[in-house]
């Protein structure tokens, strides 16, 4: 940069990725907190892209995922990234996918977005891109909070969780975003947990093998917001699956279902207790458990009635 520039051509505002020996999607030196689910998710994405021989470009709205790129003059991302406005990742990605399509290019256009950008401010944009069935892989890393702005509620925040804007614990349940997306009859919608890496990898492979709008919801531990132990992140989200709080399942074309992991139905308190965002006394645990079981029962019936046959 030159403050008394006399250039004849305009220079352009990009943070170039400086070549480094670690030729990976998310590089060392990124600003993710220790134990952040995003780091695992992005590394997993990198691995499966490489395995399937695909390249990608990311559209990332305002969220921790763009902060982690770090500061000028370099970026922690080893792939092309465009930061979008908070609500706009699916719109910007639609433009990118459109250009790929007319140029017969096969890069995966991927939205990497938080729950705020997905469940809240960007929902209309995402719904429109889903209705148009744009050729986009949309991955929501769901840390159930606005992490980047210091931990406010989102509509993904679960019942009972304390955030800076629900100081007494959230009184509403978590929004069922997967049903909303499935209702658009998109080719593929699935939930992912870093506590179940093989299931995670398989779903990424499936999503990368399909065209159209594919939606993946990843339960993303956030030690900073959840006030949990960074080293325990993967174990923690495994407990959420075991308690039936975050069921793992897939939906094809909004029609056919597969349930991937049968919960062990552990006491949700085992999950709550490891995070200071929950106070067990605030929560009607039995009611939560009942609702989780009913939800899971409904999913199983759907999977029996409308099984996915691959």
């Amino acid at each position: 940069m030159n403050s008394t520039s006399t250039v004849e051509t305009s220079s352009v505002p990009v943070n170039p990725t400086i070549a480094c020996s670690e030729d990976c999607l998310l590089r060392p030196g990124n600003t993710n907190c220790g134990g952040c689910g995003m780091s695992v998710g992005l590394n997993m994405l990198d691995r499966i892209l490489e395995e399937t021989g695909q390249q990608c470009m990311l559209a990332i709205p305002a969220c921790c995922g763009i902060v982690t790129a770090g500061g000028f003059p370099t970026s922690s991302y080893g792939v092309p990234v465009i930061a979008t406005t908070f609500a706009s990742a699916p719109a910007v990605a639609s433009g990118m996918a459109g250009v790929c399509e007319i140029n017969n290019e096969s890069e995966q256009i991927i939205c990497w977005a938080g729950d705020g950008g997905t469940y809240d401010i960007g929902l209309g944009t995402l719904s429109a891109a889903a209705e148009r069935n744009e050729n986009i892989l949309y991955i929501c890393y769901d840390n159930e909070i606005y992490g980047n702005t210091g931990g406010q509620r989102s509509s993904a925040t679960p019942l009972g969780a304390r955030t800076t804007t629900t100081p007494e614990g959230k009184t509403e349940r978590k929004k069922d975003i997967l049903s909303i997306l499935a209702a658009h009859r998109i080719p593929y919608a699935a939930t992912l947990s870093i506590g179940h890496p093989e299931d995670f990898a398989r779903k990424l492979r499936t999503a990368l093998s399909l065209r159209g709008l594919r939606f993946l919801l990843m339960h993303s531990p956030c030690p900073t917001g959840w006030k949990s132990e960074p080293a325990e992140s993967a174990q923690l989200v495994r407990l959420a699956v075991a308690a039936g709080l975050f069921p793992l399942y897939e939906i094809w074309d909004g029609c056919t279902y597969r349930v991937n992991v049968e919960p062990a139905w552990i006491d949700p308190r085992e999950y709550y207790r490891q995070q200071k965002r929950f106070r067990i006394d605030d929560i009607d645990v039995e009611a939560v458990q009942r609702e989780c079981k009913e939800n899971f029962q409904r999913l199983k019936i759907l999977a029996q009635q409308f099984p996915h046959r691959s």
Partner: protein, 397 residues
Amino acid sequence: MSKKLVTGNHAAGYALSTAGEANRNARGAVCGIYPITPQTEIVEYVAKFPFTKGRVIPVESEHSAMGVSIGASISGARAFTASSSNGLAYMVENIMVAGYYRLPIVMVAVNRTLGPPWNIWADQSDTLMLRDFPWIQLYCETNQEVLDTTLLAFRLAEDRRILLPALVCLDAFIVSHTQMGTDLPEQELVDRFLPVLDLPHRLRCDKPATMGGLVWPQEAMSQRLEIDEAMERVPGVLEECRTAFAEVFGREVTGAVETFGVEDAETVLIASSTIATTAREVIRNRRAVGEKIGLLKIKMYRPFPEAEIRAACRTAKKIAVLDRNYAAGIGGIFWWDVRAALQDCSPSPLVQGYLTGLCGGDVTPSVIDQVIGDITSRHRATKPIWMAIEAGKEKSR
């Protein structure tokens, strides 16, 4: 050259579409579109156009229309859209991003009153609300000027020395829905005029980079300075584009300003868009009987053509600025900027602002006559004068 009778919206749609088509041998054209009166016919035209290599994405909002165009542009395609009034207000966040990302997107904006009140008629306050963003702004008077300026805007915006988006503005209904004889150039001529787009910072897998990551204060400020330098290069590059335009199309397209009779004028009227059309006729008649009066039409509002305005007002003792737009607590927006541009001229002319035709009112020759009557007998400038307001005031009481 064969002229056809088409509306201003048709002319704009034609220019956007043929410009997009002209990029078919490069990365094509992709855009997001969304309707709003009175620009809807523009995006409908674009949606029907048989692009060889293009995709028009009918999105769910203006915010996304610009979002799609941002994604398309950063991927190297020629991108454009159109909007108006509340649509522009809804789009603002992404309008700003397009500018700061230095994406040469062209947007046609039909100037319409911002609501409330609900009013669909001509008023420039919508695009002028965008005045502090890094967008070139051009205001047109006729359908031909809309068409020509839109084509010109692509070449200007995409020039490596500029790389800034451009807004082409026209008055609601008075231009958007009025048919005028317009030359619609063959695709082949548009191809000759518009080089294919080669965006230097397009996202590509072989050279990864992050657009819009964190930038520290000094470097970020330096990026702002680079925008300022590009803005400063606009008038020079605009002149080059006009020369190329005349070579290809065999006609002139207006530059940053257009003057009529200012050479010896003691009184100069300053106007833009269709108010300039009416004022020109009034002034033509008055000059025919020897009045020393001239017209300065401001075509390019951003970057603000300060030098051209000072040159055009060299002999003026009195200047009347007519604004069909309003900044609350200020008055007319052109007036405010003209005053700043002329403040240290010596001897300094009297600059008076007139608010006229806001929210779509007719600015008739008699309104122009009233302005001329006021300015010629005026010895001191006062706060902006609201013209022909009495009838409306009476009724709304």
